[in-house]
Amino acid sequence: MQLSETFWINFWRLFLLVLILSIWQWGAEVNQWLVSGLEKGWQKALTVQVLEPFFISKPTLIWARFLELGCFTDPAGAWISGQEGGFFGCLDSNTNNLWYATLATLRNTFWGFLVGVGSGVVVGLILGRSDFLAQVFEPFIVAFNSLPRIALVPLIVLIFGLGDASKIMTAWVIVFFIVFFSTFEGARSVDRDHINVARLLGASDWQVTWAVVVPSTLAWVFAVLTPALSFSLIGVIIGEFIGAQVGLGKIIIEAEATLETADMMVALFVLMIVGVGLALLIRRLQTYLLRWQSQFSGSGQ
């Protein structure tokens, strides 16, 4: 009769999930029922509003909207497969359906991440290895970096329009600096003796760069891949808030305008899943890339 710790951890997790969902689903009704006996109007107003479905929706409503936005059911709640047009007909009828929106957000996150990491590494390496260039560019980088990047988003949308380019640019201006600073720091702290060893073994300048400077700097880059990816997602969502045609951010901002809390919740849940998925993915990549470092070298996965 020895139940493992894992069992109890999972038990309480499940319990909490059910509790949260239940309060969310029925909390307002229970609350109303409890308060209905009381005369005091102010108390009623206060308590009832806390769990008001108008603001937070309900799990069942969210689930129904999820099925509809995801083209699983029609607005009446009937399964869409077998109906005229079917799943793909439904996709075509709503350009910002859940699938297209998720895909657009993911795609732009990926490109923003890739462009941001790539440019951050290149610029970081160049400035990190050249004191002269680092000093020339320093004030510009400090100035640009102290500007909250979010403030640039309207300008970016103005220049690059409502399409993918503005989302990628937004993600880029955020990701670039994260990666740049880490790369710069890494390139400056390459072990002198590591360079000396290569030189004594006959390495040319280029060989020193490729065999020593780049790999030892990349360790610093790999360490910030996780924040870089989550900031890329943040950048894309903000870009979609300011102006977009498709995307999860677009669903959220539209739901705000039309007071459709359930739609907003659907988009938030999908974002949550996307975020967790991306984090797991990048974690695996990182484990592989940094397998030679202590904190990642355990049997792990």
Partner: protein, 271 residues
């Protein structure tokens, strides 16, 4: 032609070698003061002295890692030019300098890789030298999983695979425990017996110097000056462990210890 006493050719010649750190208008710190000695072909020379006596500085100047301030260094009659390392000179650092992101195989094979040796040939040479170093089975391990002694063996093999004629070693076993150190002495003596490199070995461990070298050069406390040169006449091949138990070893040990002791006292009195 520079010819030493017994007719063997001098491969490394130091003439009034001087190093002053700082310079310009700032405070100048003399580190090495007019040091002269030769190292003959195939000779194993130990440089010993209290810490801060400039022994590592001398080695770094011979390797061309740092510029000299005065005098000259000749290797095979050519002056050493800072920043232009020659392949025939190998260098082993005191610090752990294996590349953590490279496996044992790739660390050892780096020199060959840099010099464009094809992969198959590289693998062959690495496999051979890995066996000699007792690193079999660890070829694909990353350095983080190895002990300090094994990592230093990787460093040593990384240098030796280039078949340097001259080997400069800067307290290569300074960070190892006594037992591991003796193991490394065995390995080094074994390799040296076969290949007879010309070695300059910096250390502050007199026992180590006596076990390994043909000649011990004692440097004075800062700034480093040549104090005394001792010949180490023990027969070769030597056994790193049993040699230490002989009366000759003890006798020479106490003789050099006395000379060295004066310098250590000077260092502690100053600092």
């Amino acid at each position: 032609m520079e010819v030493a006493g017994d007719g063997a050719q001098a491969r490394i010649v130091l003439k009034d070698l001087t190093k002053i750190y700082g310079g310009g208008s700032g405070s100048e710190v003399p580190a090495v003061d007019t040091v002269s000695f030769d190292v003959r072909e195939g000779e194993f020379v130990a440089l010993i002295g209290p810490s801060g006596c400039g022994k590592s500085t001398i080695l770094n100047m011979v390797a061309g890692l740092i510029p000299i301030s005065g005098g000259e260094i000749l290797i095979d009659e050519r002056p050493v030019v800072t920043g232009t390392p020659t392949p025939k000179v190998g260098y082993v650092f005191q610090r752990d300098t294996v590349y953590p992101w490279r496996t044992v195989r790739k660390n050892i094979g780096l020199g060959l890789e840099l010099n464009g040796v094809p992969k198959a040939e590289r693998e062959r040479q690495v496999a051979e030298i890995v066996g000699r170093a007792g690193l079999d089975g660890f070829e694909d391990a990353f350095p983080i999983t190895l002990s300090g002694g094994m990592r230093q063996r990787v460093s040593l093999m990384r240098t030796l695979i280039m078949r340097p004629e001259i080997l400069l070693m800067d307290e290569p076993f300074g960070a190892l425990d006594t037992h591991t150190k003796l193991e490394m002495h065995k390995l080094l003596l074994e390799i040296w017996n076969q290949e007879q490199q010309t070695v300059v070995f910096v250390t502050h461990d007199l026992g180590e110097a006596l076990t390994l070298s043909d000649k011990i050069i004692v440097l004075s406390a800062r700034p480093g000056r040549l104090k005394e040169i001792f010949d180490v006449p023990f027969e070769r091949p030597r056994d790193a462990v049993s040699l230490r138990e002989t009366p000759e070893f003890s006798a020479l040990f106490s003789k050099i210890w006395h000379s060295l002791g004066e310098e250590f006292r000077r260092t502690s009195a100053e600092g």
